[in-house]
Symmetry: C2
Subunit: 232 residues, 2 copies
DNA sequence: AACAGGTTGTGATATTTATCATATTATGAG
DNA sequence: CTCATAATATGATAAATATCACAACCTGTT
């Protein structure tokens, strides 16, 4: 991890439209001055369970995961989060500002750190900001809960199909992409074993639904994948 | 459902300490005047997916469930919610104020309806309220997400044990209680089939971990149940 | 180049869970 | 009260998934 020399001036930052849309100029400049932008290399850990969390950490570019580590060493990936995703809002002000799960970086990423204290003051002093913040919070937590409910109703093939479609539709916006995670991590996200994820991907390949070339996936028959995802 | 004649005067309402701790007297009186208290009988539906939701509906007494209805008619219970639980906060301001899941009443219950518009105004005008609201939101959504992650790492016996312990420790605060839900609903909450929930409860009975008398459950060997829950 | 360690891949087998069938017992409606 | 229906219960079997074993390949390091 290293702070970049050239920090963003925040003027055109996308996050501004998402949760900082209703800040006064001075408020925004204050945030921009106190923020810290940091660059993480693939695989680096941003924070771990038990660690104090006194910044709102949002993703500017790259890809990250939030995950639980279980007693027996197995992980559960709670969510894979794209730039400007609102998930980080769920990590702050929680559990006395001590992390209850881990965050690490799946692809080289730029993260923006904003002191929680600033966010707290904004909530207290700027009702419009507070409202935007609440809306985002509610949307993102319902989305995450929905994810788990959805998974619970799918079998192995359905889960793998669902995961591939999510990457295609919400992360890469195309039908050919490099898997940003290992088969093991897919398993940790959809609640299956690594072997069965590999096997299912191979099945899809044999059925000519997808092409596989190492980490590269090409979705050939999207319609069938959608069918399988819905219930297969 | 029927409105009760004698409405609560809100003076000693527990919710006041939870999310309305920092209201001015006038603000609180305003809420108290505009709220509506309603009584629901066991089994009644409070709202369904697709229905407009323009009230914050919190539970004063009784027990409720929030649940998804799947395409094939099967349900998934997202959470079972006790009085003054913060889960209702997640239901408002979401999806253009249209419900994305259902809510129904597990035991005869008294619900308090507060117009969302009042909440919105409070968020805008009272920073302390907004902050309390956000804290509760974050706590409850993390708790719900944690629930699903936890379940994913348990087998059938572990899930049933976990469910019984939750009822004992967070709902009834004792080791003897009446199950507020059918075996089918337990299955819908922990993601298993009804038959296997029944079978597992019978197993626990045969192993003298619990006693079963219809809906009444008595936990005899709590330590073993905890062990099974942790990983059985 | 050689090695260690992790990832991917596949088959055989064991285990877990779901499904189907059927009986018994509650519960609610009329 | 009586019937219909749902809930509980249990066994037999089928299906899904996990586990174990092993090989091939890739990647980074010395």
């Amino acid at each position: 991890m290293s702070e970049t020399k050239q920090q963003c001036n925040c003027k055109e930052c996308i996050i501004r439209n998402l949760i900082f849309a209703h800040l006064k100029t001075t408020e925004f400049e204050n945030i921009c001055q106190q923020k810290a932008e940091k660059y993480y290399k693939k695989g680096q850990i941003v924070f771990e369970k038990g660690q104090p969390l006194d910044h709102l950490i949002y993703l500017k570019s790259g890809l990250v995961k939030y995950y639980h580590q279980n007693h027996d060493g197995k992980n559960s990936i709670i969510t894979i989060s794209v730039p400007y995703d609102a998930f980080p809002l769920l990590t702050i002000f929680h559990n006395n500002q001590v992390a209850t799960y881990n965050m690490s970086v799946l692809e080289d990423s730029t993260l923006c750190f904003i002191p929680i204290e600033l966010i707290r003051k904004l909530i207290f002093n700027n009702g419009e900001f507070a409202f935007d913040f609440i809306i985002k919070l509610i949307e993102t937590s319902n989305k995450t809960i929905e994810h788990f409910v959805t998974l619970n109703n799918k079998n192995l093939r359905g889960r793998v199909a669902y995961f591939l479609l999510k990457l295609s539709d919400y992360v890469y916006f195309r039908d050919v992409f490099e898997l940003p995670v290992s088969r093991k991590e897919i398993a940790e996200h959809i609640g299956m074993t690594t072997e069965n994820v590999i096997r299912t991907l191979s099945e899809f390949r044999k059925e000519k639904i997808i092409k596989i070339n190492g980490k590269e996936i090409e979705i050939i028959e999207k319609e069938r994948l959608i069918k399988i995802s819905q219930y297969g």
